[in-house]
Assembly symmetry: C2
Homo-oligomer: 240 residues x 2
DNA sequence: CTCTGTATATCGTGC
DNA sequence: GCACGATGTACAGAG
């Protein structure tokens, strides 16, 4: 195995060998993984400590660090993209990752490294995702009758003092309509959002007629339905 | 290397060898990683496809799958805990992960496996985290004067028709107070949340005097400050 | 299961 | 940089 290979890996390496693989990997913008017994300390937006245990640590060339245990989607500790890594050896293999704004530091100490690897990554592809809120918006703009007969979209992302409205338009009677789209079942927060937009737009337009607010989502919770009714807002069921 | 080792790894394995390591690993509740050129297809709450490229795939014994590229904190594709994995070979190494409620499927096809590993994980430790909203609440309960002189907490998680209030109490004049805590700078959503609680509690109490609503956070955005003023709500600055 | 709210949320976009 | 909203958000707690 040479450094020109796209993968450099060692099982049960010495701390020094592990250090070499990690350092070389970080320098060459490889994706580096370390598995072994470690402790983890974090200080920044919050603070945390994690006692000794086996974890899988991934360092990405963009400065991301992820510490994974055997459970859960979420890493037990991490550092976001843009951090600077630093690896050193004392009685353990030490990985330190820092950033500023906000000031944050992650410190991983490996007593024992069971596996280390550096991967050269070539990934030219972008994820193609559908079924998002934007897809839902395009569908409504293609066929405004999905909202109600006579509905006419006038603009998307219309700016109000309360933020940008998903779809702004008019109904069959020429009344202003604010449409808020959600790709999944919504709770009270979405009602609050729609209410803010309607309120802001009524002020903005100095309109005599009230502005209608329509929440478009697959479904709503009971509490959200009550809030909609209280505020005179409407609901249209639409799957993404 | 034998199966009693805590790590089983192969660099540039054949598809068949990779299949063996992955299958054995999944069967023995190991944490399994695969690195190589693959495509990824997802169908469930949304749909996605990802063309060929080098990615790092992790399968956890709890049924989690994570597909990572060389960038970002977030996996490009994933499957949450509780999924069932299935690995097979045709012209590629195929990993399929499924779950129900909601019905979701992830399919990863490796044309070429550059590295595969199975790790036995022993992790007895729990993360100790501080600086959360709960810590902030305990600090306020220990020293209610942090809110204002004369404030007396009466209960936490008090239930209202709009949900549970962080801290419910009385001010020096015996007026009811709703406190909403946030560990970081807040925007309009938090104001809406507090407003809902205040409104619900006023109804609940049939109180003649208005209920005060106090947002406690390190800081607020301009828009949130405006909304607070419009609704007659208050703000107290407090770091977590 | 659903509902609700928190998160070291992350991420993208616009200003 | 900050602000704001979407996310296949994940996750925990309560009902």
């Amino acid at each position: 195995m040479t450094t020109t290979e796209s993968v450099r890996a060692r099982t049960n390496p010495s701390i020094e060998t592990a250090h070499s693989v990690v350092e070389t990997g970080l320098d060459s913008d490889a994706l580096v993984t370390i598995f072994g017994e470690c402790t983890v300390d974090y200080e920044g937006r919050a603070e945390s400590t994690l006692g000794p245990g086996d974890r899988h640590v991934m360092c990405k060339p963009d400065g991301t660090v992820l510490v994974h245990t055997d459970e859960g989607h979420q890493p037990v500790n991490w550092q976001p993209p843009g951090c600077t890594h630093e690896v050193s050896v004392d009685d353990a293999l030490v990985l330190r990752s820092e950033r500023s704004t906000p000031e944050e530091e992650l410190l991983v100490r490996f007593r024992d490294v069971e596996h280390v690897a550096a991967f050269d990554v070539t990934d030219p592809e972008e994820l193609s995702l559908s079924g998002t809120e934007e897809d839902l918006r395009e569908r409504v703009l293609d066929d405004p009758e999905l909202i109600e007969p006579g509905f006419t979209p006038l603009s998307t992302e219309r700016e109000t003092p309360a933020g940008a409205v998903d779809i702004y338009g008019e109904d069959a009677n020429g009344r202003s309509v604010v449409v808020e789209l959600k790709r999944r079942r919504v709770g009270p927060d979405a009602v609050g959002q729609l209410a803010r937009y309607v309120e802001a737009l009524e002020r903005d337009l100095h309109d005599e007629a009230e502005v209608r607010g329509i929440l478009v989502a697959p479904s709503v919770t009971d509490r959200a339905r009550t809030l909609l009714a209280e505020r005179g807002l409407e609901f249209v069921s639409l799957e993404p």
